[in-house]
Each structure stands twice: as structure tokens, then as C-alpha cells.
């Protein structure tokens, strides 16, 4: 009995097939671009970062949406049309 062989089944969940996409092309330059800073959580970091972004990169048109929670406030479809890039943080 101890030598009997059994087929033992797989308990692991099923990965649904995912279509994968390339990253969006990067910017050729940053001056004059509209870059959105999506602020979510960790104000110790995001307050300092926003200050540096605006002071060190004045030629960028900065937009922001801010929440204290980790779930970002998303850009609308209309806003996405005029946004060249997005920085999001902090993600956890």
C-alpha cells in the first residue's frame, strides 16, 4: 500500500492569459512638455519631490493631482490628450 503511486493534483491558481504591450515611446526632450505628477501617499517624499520638480525644472508645464491615500486620482481621457508624461508616487 505504501508503495502505491498516486496522481496528485495541482493546487495553484490559473494565470489568465495576458496580452502584453510595449512601453510608450519616451520623450525626446523635457523642456516645454506637460508632465503630470500623480501624488498618492507618503507626503514626506511627495512634498519634497513636488518642490524640487517645480524649482529645478521650471521649463516643464507641471500638473498635479493629489490624494493622501495610495490610490491615485486618475487623469480623464481629455486630460490624457494634453499630457506628455506621468510621474506617479509613492506606490505601495
Amino acid at each position: 500500500m505504501a508503495d502505491k503511486k498516486y496522481k496528485c493534483l495541482n493546487p495553484v491558481g490559473i494565470q489568465v492569459p495576458v496580452k502584453t504591450y510595449p512601453l510608450a515611446p519616451r520623450l525626446d526632450k523635457i523642456d516645454g512638455k506637460t508632465i503630470h505628477f500623480s501624488i498618492c501617499g507618503e507626503p514626506d517624499i511627495t512634498i519634497a519631490l513636488e518642490k524640487r520638480l517645480r524649482s529645478d525644472y521650471p521649463n516643464i508645464n507641471w500638473t498635479t493631482k493629489k490624494t493622501y491615500t495610495p490610490t491615485p486620482i486618475e487623469l480623464s481621457e481629455e486630460e490624457m490628450k494634453t499630457t506628455d508624461a506621468v510621474i506617479l508616487g509613492v506606490c505601495w
Binding site: A2, D3, K4, K5, Y6, K7, C8, L9, N10, P11, V12, G13, I14, Q15, V16, P17, V18, K19, T20, Y21, P22, L23, A24, P25, R26, L27, D28, K29, I30, I35, S38, C40, G41, D44, I45, T46, I47, A48, L49, R52, L53, T67, Y68, T69, P70, T71, P72, E74, L75, M80, T83, D84, A85, V86, I87, L88, G89, V90, C91, W92
Partner: protein
């Protein structure tokens, strides 16, 4: 995570380059969610958990712009299809060989830095042979190849609504499962076929395990199922010994690992874990112990008294077990004759009960944390509350809620409200005023809603009440919810 990666994926697919900032020990989670969202090569960089913000930003601010401007690599330009194959039979051999196989471990680097089991909770399992799984499947009328779906419309995650028939995607990997997969895990946990409808209802929850804090997953059964399967709702119901409570609780934890892919230190980031998740925690309501007019959990959640439900609660996110009252004999001295320390504190010395023993718990219950509380009390103590005027559980919930008001100056010194008020940017709901317009003396509730509190009548005869944090307020802003067991019979 909190919806960041699906959003980032939507932006990248729309042609908007992104970069995200995470914390270093979260990299695995970002990579996994990026793949699940269809953009596996998302660019990200770590912030520090310990450096002051300005110094931290100084370290990587230039790299942020590099991530937005550096041309894509060939790998980053690729599109494709991620569809790993999976065998139904995982292992073939003797039972001893199979035990060794299923007990295999792998090294998980920091923040764990230890070997963790790949398929189990670390303890030996019942080997899921084809024969045992077939026997387990007799516990439900659902087909083995049926994909687990929501049995009713419900919120399923932060800002995510699920409709009846939608496929359940298990947290955190967003994998799916068939009824057979659930049965396999039920076998491994030591469940019997009659437990399977409960385990299927548990699977319908999506198996969230929470994050940074101290989340404990508690499964509370209510309705005829409790007696039907012989759940222990009496003395020692939270402890070992039951052939029902233990295996069903364990099934959650095995499914969280196997169906959800939740691995400590990789994507299950509770810094300490919770001892209540060792073996899992399934408890039940002693319906015969409810005082007249007190609803069972099934009725409280909109089901009928003759319907069996499983209420999924995430306990302990803000604290855990806060106490167990009272001293042996102390409670009886209070209620029988008004003697002892409790009577002295309540100012009823020499007066026979029943007295409102809840008074003894406050305000200390709110001293460490806020949010709803779950009180597990024995039937006698519930009856005392009934006798002094709490004719329904709602009366108790309302009493606790009113008891929870404190001056804003106190409330501001708590840890969680910075987050739960969204940085004090919104309105305080009881006054309707902006948080920033309130004075320090204005009173605000520590408990968000009366119904965030939860009473479970269970336990033995030694007078005791356990206070658990979490109540019905659940994890994040997702409330605890009841799942039909009958739907899975």
C-alpha cells in the same frame, strides 16, 4: 496594491510614458502587478523607508527624468502574450514522496531571509490525490471545471465592483480557479466534503490578505450550516481541537497561498504576520445563545434566518486582539451582588445586576486605535445586555458609536485618520463641515458608523468577552461582507 498599476498600464497603452516611485521591498509586487496589467516592463525606482524626504529625492530625481527620456530597449518594445501552461497533475508517486514534494521550500530574500513553503502553510497536508479530490467534489453540485465567479453583485476591491457571474480574481496575483482547484486546497487543509460549500464561499471573497499591518482573516459562519457541519461555537471555539473550525480556517490560508499567490515578503507584506492566520480562523455564531430580538449575522447582512452565510472579516488591521475581560469570578461578582473591582469602577457597589458591563471596556477600547470593533461574548453576557435594555444588536452598536465621540484635538493625534480623512481634505460626516473648519473642541466619532461594530455570540460559560479591532469596517474602504454558502451547495 491600490490601483496604481492598472492606471499606469492604461497610460502606457495610451502612449504616455510613465515612471513610478515605489519602496524597495515592494519591487516584486510592482513587477507582478505590471505583468497582470499587461505592461511588464514598467519603469520604477525605489524611495527610501528611512531617509528624510528631501535627501531621498536628491538621490533619484535625475533618474526620474532619465526613465522618461531614455530610449526604449528592444525588450521594452516587445508585445506578446503571457500564458504560462499548467499541468493538472502536479506530482506522481507514493504518499510519502508526495508529502516531501508538497512540503518543499524556497528561499525568500529580505525582508524575509528564510525558507518558506511553496505549496503549504509549513505544516504537513493531506495529499490531494485524484481520488480524494473526486470525493471532496461530491460536497457540491457545481461542476469541477466551473470557474469561480461572484454569486451576486458586490464591491470586490477598492473602487472595483464585481457583478454576478464575473470571474473572481484572487489577490494578489489576480489568478483564477476552478471548483476543482478549490477542492484540491480543501483536501490539503483536511476538510470534509460537507465543508466544500463553505470553502467555495471563502474562495468567492477573492482571498485578500491585506498589507503592511496586522491583518487577520476571520471567517464567521452563521445560519443552519453551523450545526449542520458541527462547527464548535462553544468553549474553546477559537482554539484547537475542532475537526471543522481548524480545517476550514486553514483552507483560506492555503488558498491565499496557492490560488492568490500570496507570499510573505514578496506580495503579502504584513511586517509581523498574524498568529491568528496560523491554521486560519473560522468561527461560528451560537444562534441559540442570541437573546430575543437579536439578529444573527445572516439576518444582519440581509439574508434570511434559514440561509447559511460566511461573513468575511479582516480583523486586526488596526491592532488585533485588544483584550479579554474579565477576571475569574470578577464578572459574576459584579452581576450577582455588585461586588469587586468592576462594580467599584462602574459605581454600582452593593447593587445586584444586571449591570452594563460594556461600560468597563470604555474609553480604553479606543485608546490605541479607532474604527469598528468586534465583540465576541458568551450567551450569558449577551443576555445581561438584553436585560438592561439592549433589545437588539443595533442598540449596542449605536451605544458604542455614541461612546466613541472625542474632541478633535484628541482625534488628530491618532495615526490612521491622516489617511482615512485623505489628509483632512474632506468633510467630517457627522457635522457636514470641512475638517479644517472644525475647532479642537468639536466632537467626532472614533467609530465611523454604528454598524462597523460587530457582535458574535459564542464561547463557553466562563464569563468573557474578547475585543477584536476591525469590526465590520473591513480592509481599506472595503466593508466586510457576507457570502452565501447555499449558493455553493
Amino acid at each position: 496594491m491600490w490601483g496604481q498599476l492598472p492606471y499606469i498600464a492604461r497610460l502606457e497603452k495610451a502612449g504616455i510614458p510613465t515612471v513610478l516611485i515605489d519602496l524597495e521591498d515592494q519591487h516584486n509586487m510592482v513587477v507582478q502587478e505590471a505583468m497582470a496589467s499587461g505592461v511588464p516592463k514598467v519603469r520604477f525606482m525605489p524611495a527610501s523607508r528611512t531617509l528624510p524626504g528631501p535627501r531621498d529625492v536628491d538621490k533619484w530625481i535625475e533618474a526620474l527624468f532619465d526613465a522618461l527620456t531614455r530610449p526604449l530597449t528592444d525588450e521594452e518594445k516587445q508585445s506578446g502574450f503571457f500564458s504560462p501552461s499548467q499541468e493538472r497533475v502536479l506530482f506522481e508517486g507514493t504518499l510519502d514522496e508526495a508529502q516531501d514534494f508538497y512540503q518543499q521550500t524556497r528561499y525568500v530574500p529580505r525582508p524575509v531571509d528564510a525558507e518558506l513553503a511553496v505549496y503549504t502553510d509549513g505544516f504537513p497536508i493531506v495529499i490531494p490525490t485524484e481520488e480524494r479530490v473526486a470525493k471532496m467534489l461530491k460536497g457540491t453540485s457545481h461542476r469541477p471545471d466551473e470557474i469561480i465567479t461572484y454569486q451576486k453583485d458586490r464591491p470586490v476591491r477598492l473602487r472595483v465592483e464585481g457583478n454576478r457571474g464575473d470571474v473572481v480574481k484572487f489577490q494578489p496575483r489576480l489568478w483564477t480557479a476552478t471548483v476543482e482547484k478549490v477542492a484540491i486546497n480543501a483536501v490539503m487543509a483536511g476538510c470534509k466534503p460537507e465543508h466544500l460549500p463553505v470553502v467555495l464561499a471563502i474562495a468567492e471573497t477573492g482571498l485578500t490578505t491585506g498589507t503592511t499591518n496586522f491583518p487577520t482573516q476571520v471567517l464567521v459562519l452563521s445560519g443552519p450550516i453551523v450545526k449542520e457541519i458541527g462547527l464548535n461555537t462553544g468553549c474553546g471555539h477559537l482554539g484547537p481541537g475542532s475537526r471543522v473550525n481548524g480545517p476550514i480556517g486553514r483552507a483560506f490560508q492555503l488558498m491565499a497561498l496557492n490560488l492568490g499567490g500570496a507570499i510573505p515578503g514578496v506580495n503579502r507584506m504584513s511586517a509581523h504576520g498574524s498568529p491568528m492566520n496560523n491554521g486560519g480562523m473560522c468561527i461560528g455564531e451560537n444562534v441559540d445563545g442570541l437573546p430575543p430580538g437579536w439578529k444573527g449575522l445572516n439576518e444582519e447582512h440581509g439574508f434570511r434566518k434559514d440561509e447559511s452565510v460566511m461573513v468575511f472579516m479582516t480583523i486586526g488591521n488596526h491592532g488585533g486582539i485588544l483584550g479579554h475581560e474579565f477576571s475569574p469570578g470578577g464578572y459574576r461578582a459584579l452581576q450577582k451582588s455588585g461586588h469587586g473591582g468592576i462594580a467599584r469602577r462602574l459605581g454600582v457597589k452593593g447593587k445586584p445586576g444586571p449591570h452594563n458591563w460594556l461600560e468597563y471596556l470604555f474609553p480604553k477600547l479606543f485608546s490605541i486605535t479607532e474604527g469598528g470593533f468586534t465583540l465576541i461574548m458568551i450567551p450569558e453576557m449577551a443576555r445581561h445586555l438584553y436585560d438592561i435594555g439592549f433589545k437588539s444588536k443595533d442598540d449596542v452598536y449605536e451605544w458604542i458609536y455614541k461612546k466613541s465621540f472625542e474632541p478633535l484635538r484628541e482625534y488628530r493625534t491618532r495615526s490612521w485618520p491622516d489617511l482615512t480623512t485623505n489628509g483632512w481634505m474632506g468633510r467630517e460626516k457627522t457635522s457636514g463641515k470641512l475638517w479644517k473648519e472644525l475647532s479642537d473642541d468639536d466632537m467626532v466619532p472614533v467609530v465611523n458608523e454604528p454598524f462597523d461594530n460587530c457582535i458574535i455570540v459564542a464561547g463557553g460559560e466562563e464569563e468573557g468577552c474578547i475585543q477584536l479591532t476591525g469590526g465590520r469596517s473591513g480592509f481599506g474602504d472595503l466593508p466586510s461582507a457576507a457570502y452565501s454558502i447555499d449558493a455553493w451547495r
